[in-house]
Every structure is written in structure tokens, then in C-alpha cells.
């Protein structure tokens, strides 16, 4: 009986060794598929840094698999843990993605407001800018430039409506920058007049 127990332990030990020898292929495939899914869901646009980290983690896990594969006694336990954690992280990102998209939307809306504020500031400055000697022509040119920025401003909403929040944010940034440039020019014109 005692001998039988010993034999059973031995068989179990061999089974453990055998199981340990096998690469966690299924886990690798699952992790890759999950990353691909979350990428398609918009992680490349709205969670680029998180996605990059996941890919780095995947590479690390694959490195671990590779390292174990070269050993006489293979222990894929760590790699499995890494891959399981990776899968959990991907799932977490997938769950968090709608919130991140919402945050990108809010950031774009915020930038839209900032662009509007910059246009309004430029408008207000232009309204009180001196139109006398040396500035009248410049002021007219700046007004025309601001009209161009105002025309482009409508495109932000179009991008927001199309759920292109990154594009909307980029547009808003560019318009804000242009309006800010007009503000600087008007201020320079006011200084010139003093």
C-alpha cells in the first residue's frame, strides 16, 4: 500500500513535469485575440498608451515562454501568470474603453469651448483695436483671418457629430492656435499705437 502511494506520487510528479513542458499556446492565442479585439474597439485611438503597455506585456510574456522553452526543466507557470494577468488587463481596458472614449469626447468639447473663447477674445480685442495710423489695414486683415477661423470652427461640431473626437480635438487645437495668433497680433498693433 505504501509502495502504491509512492508510485502514485511519482506518476503525479511526472504528470506535473509533462504539463510544465507544454507551452501555454491557448493563453497566448487568447491574449493576442483579446488585444486585437480591444484595438478594433478603438483602443488604438483612445487608449494608445494602455494598448502599448499591453503589447509590451505580451512581448514580455512571450519572452518568458521563450526563455523557459530553452530550459531542460521548463516552468511555464510565470508565463501563464503573465498571460492570465494580461488577459485580465485587456478585459479591464475593454471595460474602461467607453469611459475613455467619453473622456476623449469631453476633452474635444472642452477644446471646442477654448477655441470659441479664443475667437471671442480676438473678436473683442479687434472691436476695440485702434484703427488709426499704421493699424487700420492690419486690423482689417486680422478680421478676415478671424472670419476664416470662425468658418473652420463649424467643422469641430461636424467631427464631434461623426464621433471623431481626436479629429475634433485636433481641429479645435488648430483653430485655438490661430485665434491666439490673431490676439497676439492685435495686442502688438495696440502696443504699436501707444
Amino acid at each position: 500500500m505504501k509502495g502504491l502511494t509512492k508510485n502514485l506520487v511519482l506518476v503525479l510528479a511526472i504528470a506535473v513535469v509533462l504539463t510544465g513542458c507544454k507551452q501555454p499556446t491557448q493563453l497566448i492565442d487568447d491574449a493576442k485575440a483579446a488585444i486585437e479585439d480591444v484595438t478594433k474597439a478603438g483602443a488604438d485611438k483612445y487608449a494608445a498608451d494602455d494598448l502599448k503597455k499591453l503589447n509590451t506585456d505580451l512581448t514580455a510574456a512571450l519572452d518568458e515562454v521563450n526563455a523557459q522553452d530553452k530550459k531542460f526543466l521548463k516552468k511555464f507557470g510565470t508565463a501563464k501568470e503573465m498571460l492570465t494577468k494580461l488577459k485580465t488587463d485587456v478585459d479591464a481596458l475593454k471595460a474602461a474603453l467607453p469611459a475613455k472614449i467619453e473622456a476623449a469626447k469631453n476633452a474635444a468639447i472642452q477644446l471646442q469651448s477654448e477655441a470659441k473663447a479664443a475667437i471671442d477674445e480676438a473678436k473683442a480685442l479687434l472691436a476695440k483695436a485702434p484703427k488709426g495710423k499704421g493699424t487700420a489695414k492690419d486690423i482689417e486683415a486680422m478680421k478676415a483671418e478671424l472670419t476664416g477661423a470662425e468658418t473652420a470652427f463649424a467643422e469641430i461640431q461636424t467631427a464631434l457629430d461623426a464621433q471623431d473626437y481626436i479629429g475634433a480635438a485636433d481641429k479645435a487645437k488648430s483653430i485655438k492656435e490661430k485665434a491666439a495668433a490673431v490676439v497676439s497680433q492685435v495686442q502688438a498693433a495696440i502696443e504699436k499705437k501707444k
Binding site: 511526472i14 513535469v17 519572452d63 522553452d69 531542460f72 526543466l73 478671424l146
Partner: protein
């Protein structure tokens, strides 16, 4: 007891056999290297920049991995990874080449789009500088601002290495640049008309010849160059910078159009104290102006209830002021002209007399260089 020993022996042998199976031969390390390379390719955007090659790589990788799986299914003693190893080596080489190709493609795209962006930016800047030559630059500057915004958006994409949409943004920017150029040509095309130039040149020559023949003072205003030249007995004795109206480069047609008339006039009154320092009133509208106005009125080109206008002066107050169609000068220059001009002094206002050294030469150069 004997049976137990045999069982034990068989188990030991079995485990030794499995240990040996795990030991020999090992799966080729190239398989893992190929996985890592696949990640690098994915991250570099190979699926976008070299889709066909990348799909090919993935298929080859899948096929090679399947071969490894098949080999692994065999007993250790019968495993032979060499053929698949060779396959993986080739795959790795192809993958490395593909990665280099993708990186090269991205680098060349980045360089190309950077150059395109810089070229468009320079073009916008040059056009902006050109608008300094004329007051009617509102539509040009509006389009240029829109072009700048599109270019700025393209710049943000360039920073993010998102080249796929860049072409559209640069194309949009170019569309606005072309609109700006068209708006500029709408104002200046008249100045590039040979017949108009000949007419203005003839007026200028006649004015100078008369000044010489009659030994009088004459004033020649060149709108495009924004210069007023004072002639004495046919010789230029002074040249002064001037300012014009909001639509100064257009020929005045009716009241309130803020354009400066073109034609041969003379001073009809000297005004020593005017809201614009000192002023010299000219005889606008002359006979030709009245004919042109009547013709335009008949064609419906003049707003209803609008007259031909008048009170066109050469006055002080500053050359940088936007006038309502008059010719503005700095007060010190006005003093000089006022002192020398008399009632009856010829005042000839032309659009331009030559293309050289004017915005027109720049436009020609610009059109040539694209």
C-alpha cells in the same frame, strides 16, 4: 512484492523516457523570435503600410507554427525540427526585411509630408506678404487662415505618425491656398492686362511730357506701387509713400465704393485746414468718369439711388490710414506737396506703369515656381 518492484521499475523507466523526450530535441528558438518579430511588425503598422507582405508573413508564420505543433506531437526521439527551423530562419529574414521596409516607408512618408507641409507653409507666408501690397486682401487672408488651420491639423497628424489622413488635410489646405490665389487674382488681374497697362503708361508719359513742355508741376499717383511722384518741368523731384482706400486698387465707379479713381485730373481747390491736415481737391468725376458711371448704371452695376460721388482729395493724416478713396500721405510729405501744387496742377492717377518690381512680378514668379 516482485510485481510491485516491476511496476516501480516500469514507472521509473517511463519517467526517464519522458524526461528524455523533454530534453531532446528542443523546439527551435527561431519560433519565439518570429513571434517577437511579429509583434514588432504589428507595432510598426506593417498591416497598414505593407498589408500584402504582412499577410504573407502571418500565413507563413502560422504554417511554420503548425509544423512545430506536428513535430511536438511526435515522440521526442522522432522529432526533427531542422526542416521547420530552416523555414523559420527564412521567415525571420523576410520579417526583418519587411520591418526594414515598413520603417523605411514610414521614414520616407514622414520626410515627404514634412517637406509638403513646409512647402505649403512657405507658400502661405509668401501669399500673406503679397497681401501687404493691397488693401483688398480680406478674402485672401480669410482663405489663407483656413489653409493654415488645415496645415496645423496635418502637422498634428505628422507628429502622431498618422500619415494615412495627412494627404487629405494637405489637399484641403492647398484648396484654400488656391482660393486665396484666385481672390488675389480677382483684384489684380486687371493690373496684368496689357491694354490697361499701356493706357496707364500713356497717361503717365503724357503727364510728364506736358509738365516738361509747359514747365509746370505735375503729380503722378501709382496705385499699385503706392507712390506719389512730384514732377517739375518733366523731372521727378520727389517721391512719397501713399495710402489708399479699402478697395483702393479698384477704379472708382460710384459713391461709397471706397475705390480710388484712375484718370487725368487736376487740382480744383487747395484746403489749408482739413480734417486730414491739409488737402488738395481734384476734379473727380471728370468727363470719362461720368460716361463710365452712366454706362455702369445702365448695366445695373451701380446700386439704386447711388450717385457718382466726389470729394476725392490728396490729403494728410497718414499714409497708413484706410481712406474712403482719397490718397493719404504723411503730414510732412503733404506739406511739401501742398507747398508746390497749385490750383490747376495736373494729377494723373494710374493703376501701374510696369510689372517689374511690383507684386505682379512676384505673382508671375510665383506662378512659374508653383
Amino acid at each position: 512484492m516482485k510485481t510491485l518492484s516491476r511496476t516501480r521499475g516500469a514507472l521509473l523507466l517511463g519517467s526517464l523516457f519522458f524526461v528524455c523526450s523533454c530534453k531532446t530535441p528542443l523546439a527551435p528558438p527561431e519560433a519565439q523570435q518570429a513571434e517577437v518579430l511579429d509583434q514588432a511588425l504589428w507595432r510598426s503598422g506593417a498591416s497598414f503600410y505593407a498589408q500584402e507582405n504582412y499577410v504573407q508573413f502571418k500565413q507563413s508564420l502560422k504554417s511554420a507554427k503548425e509544423k512545430i505543433t506536428r513535430e511536438k506531437a511526435k515522440f521526442g526521439w522522432f522529432r526533427d525540427y531542422e526542416p521547420v527551423r530552416a523555414e523559420f530562419r527564412e521567415l525571420l529574414q523576410n520579417g526583418e526585411d519587411l520591418l526594414a521596409k515598413v520603417e523605411g516607408l514610414k521614414s520616407s512618408k514622414s520626410k515627404y509630408y514634412s517637406e509638403q507641409t513646409a512647402a505649403l507653409s512657405a507658400r502661405i507666408e509668401r501669399l500673406k506678404q503679397m497681401t501687404d501690397y493691397f488693401n483688398e486682401n480680406g478674402p485672401v487672408r480669410k482663405s489663407l487662415a483656413q489653409a493654415e488651420i488645415k496645415l496645423s491639423e496635418a502637422g498634428l497628424l505628422l507628429q502622431k505618425e498618422q500619415f494615412e489622413s495627412m494627404g487629405n488635410y494637405l489637399s484641403d489646405s492647398m484648396t484654400f491656398i488656391r482660393q486665396a490665389e484666385q481672390a488675389m487674382m480677382d483684384v489684380l488681374s486687371r493690373y496684368m492686362d496689357r491694354k490697361e497697362l499701356e493706357k496707364w503708361r500713356r497717361w503717365a508719359d503724357e503727364t510728364i511730357v506736358e509738365s516738361k513742355a509747359k514747365e509746370t508741376i505735375a503729380i503722378l499717383v501709382n496705385k499699385l506701387e503706392r507712390k506719389l511722384t512730384l514732377y517739375k518741368k518733366g523731372v521727378a523731384v520727389g517721391s512719397y509713400d501713399i495710402g489708399l482706400g479699402k478697395y483702393g486698387l479698384s477704379d472708382k465707379l460710384y459713391s461709397g465704393d471706397e475705390a480710388t479713381p484712375e484718370g487725368r485730373y487736376h487740382i480744383i481747390r487747395k484746403i489749408p485746414s482739413s480734417p486730414f491736415y491739409k488737402a488738395l481737391l481734384i476734379n473727380y468725376p471728370n468727363e470719362e468718369d461720368q460716361k463710365a458711371f452712366a454706362l455702369a448704371k445702365n448695366k445695373g452695376l451701380v446700386p439704386a439711388e447711388t450717385g457718382i460721388g466726389g470729394y476725392i482729395e490728396i490729403h494728410g493724416g497718414g499714409k497708413d490710414n484706410l481712406t474712403k478713396g482719397c490718397i493719404g500721405l504723411n503730414d510732412r510729405d503733404m506739406d511739401e506737396i501742398y507747398r508746390q501744387a497749385e490750383v490747376g496742377t495736373a494729377v494723373t492717377i494710374v493703376g501701374a506703369v510696369s510689372v517689374e518690381k511690383t507684386i505682379l512680378a512676384d505673382i508671375k514668379k510665383f506662378e512659374k515656381n508653383g
